[in-house]
Amino acid sequence: MSYFMGIDIGSGTSKGVITRDGELLAYHLLSSGVNYRMAAQRLREGLLAKASLSPEDIACTVATGQGSGSVPFSSQQVTDIRCCARGINGAFPPVRTVIDVQGQSTQVIRLSEIGQVANFVISEKCASGSGRFLDIIANVLQIELEDIGPLSLKSDNPVVFTTGCAVFGESEAVSRVSEGIPREDILAGVHRALAEKISALVNRVGLEEQCAISGGGGLNTGLIKRVEEKLGVQLLVPPQPQFVTALGAAILAEEVARTEELSEAG
């Protein structure tokens, strides 16, 4: 029985999974810190401990993400776009558009009929187009990140953020707080601002009926609702959305191993 590992070293967090026959066996997440190599090492240890396996049990490892070059135990590096596409295709085969909302960037990927990357667009130049914007406002309001989505859904009157900048948005949030505006209205406003940026990205690659959301953004019910409102479609949310890219890497690792076996068999 062979096991496979997908390691996704992101700029903020690192995610890893172990699979067997395409099934998710163990997953682990930690902060990447400044040393990607150490993060990869700790991620592997954590995953193996959770799955009660030893390094020899892993037949093949694929690394992805910004720090994919710092994973010495991987047999291949694959772009996070391809891994994300593969991961979502494994979870929802009919999906043709994936919105991947990360802590420092947002990717929108369009998949072909056979589940391969047909087109993609990345927003990574500006914090206000990523989950970081939510993080900054949550910090102003002193609310835990996991609570902001549900709280934002209580608002009937989202505030309008006048600039598209996370730094200016932070000052705007401070002003609204001092004016006594309810926190849920501020949160609903920032979720809507991010949803508008995401929707502009989606329109650049083209929206297909079956659309999914992955990355940490997929855990945020408030963001999902605002994006759905903006795009006019329902979003499919995979279980463990932040592990989709790592899962895709593990599925690709299985494919790599299978190809090698076939070529050895001649």
Binding site: S11, V34, Q104, K125, C126, A127, R132, I136, T163, G164, C165, A166, V167, F168, S175, S178, E179
Partner: protein, 280 residues
């Protein structure tokens, strides 16, 4: 006769009072803050006191800047673009391009014969504004006013690849943890802000004289980086924060003299030296 200009910027509030001879008899610079935005009258009172004048002695009072609508005692509101152009031309009559980097925006003004003919502006993003330096000086644990001198010591400035202030902050933290000397990081930040503003003002064609105003013009490191990037000398007025307020006062004088010459009455506001109801 006396003329006053009040420039309510996003970060600083400036008041200038001039006489008929255009000599400055009072100039005050205070933090705008959340309170001062409402209390522009306090800054005005301070300037009147410095000049030793009652408000009735002011023949004309023009408000300008981002918060100009929150000045209930002004006779008239004029955009900061017009006032800056007027003020800069009074210091440097040969000005062709005026660059103003304030706390929350950056502007390029094309000026001919002292008149504004074109402009570019950026106020949607903190990068390329004073805010960029404000955020990053806090990350570095340095005072904003010390950045310029520190950067001059740099021998090997870093390159900051992120445009976004938030992402640049992370880059700065990474450089710090790699042990890069402070001065090389600060010089890198100055180069980043200069290159962003330079690429914006290039749309207006860069010709001498180039004048640089706003709070960021007090930072010698940004001045040098801008000169390097634009490939020409950059002139700085004695007090780079006051060009808008001085321009407003000068415009007030022009309007008054024109009205007097034409025998028209001077249209004054109500001159209520009171709190603006900003938040209401």
């Amino acid at each position: 006769m006396y003329f006053a200009g009040i420039d309510l910027g996003s970060t600083m509030t400036k008041v200038v009072i001039i006489g008929e001879d255009e000599q400055v008899c009072a100039s005050i610079i205070r933090h705008t803050g959340a309170e001062h935005r409402r209390l522009a009258n306090k800054v005005m009172e301070e300037a009147l006191e410095q000049a030793g004048l009652p408000i009735d002695e002011i023949s004309y009072l023009i408000a300008t800047g981002y918060g100009r609508i929150n000045v209930p005692f002004a006779d008239r509101q004029v955009t900061e673009l017009t006032c800056h152009a007027r003020g800069v031309a009074s210091f440097f009559p040969g000005v062709s391009l005026a660059i103003d980097i304030g706390g929350q925006d950056a502007k390029g003004l094309k000026v001919r014969d002292g008149k504004l003919i074109d402009f570019v502006m950026s106020d949607k993003c903190a990068a390329g504004t004073g805010r960029f330096l404000e955020v990053l000086s806090a990350t570095l644990g340095l005072r904003l006013e010390d950045l310029g001198d520190i950067s001059l010591k740099s021998r090997n400035r870093v390159s900051i690849s992120s445009t976004c202030t938030i992402f640049a902050r992370q880059e700065v933290v990474n450089h710090l943890s790699d042990g890069v000397p402070l001065e090389d990081i600060v010089a890198g930040l100055h180069s980043a802000i200069a290159s962003r503003v330079a690429s914006m003002v290039r749309r207006l064609k860069v010709e001498p004289d180039v004048v640089f105003t706003g709070g960021v013009a007090k930072n010698i490191g940004v001045v040098k980086a801008l000169e390097e990037n634009l490939g020409c000398q950059v002139l700085i007025p004695e007090e780079p924060l006051l060009s808008g307020a001085i321009g407003a006062a000068l415009l007030g004088k022009e309007l008054t003299l024109k009205a007097l010459a034409e025998g028209e009455p001077i249209q004054r506001g109500k001159r209520r030296l009171e709190e603006a109801t900003f938040f209401k």
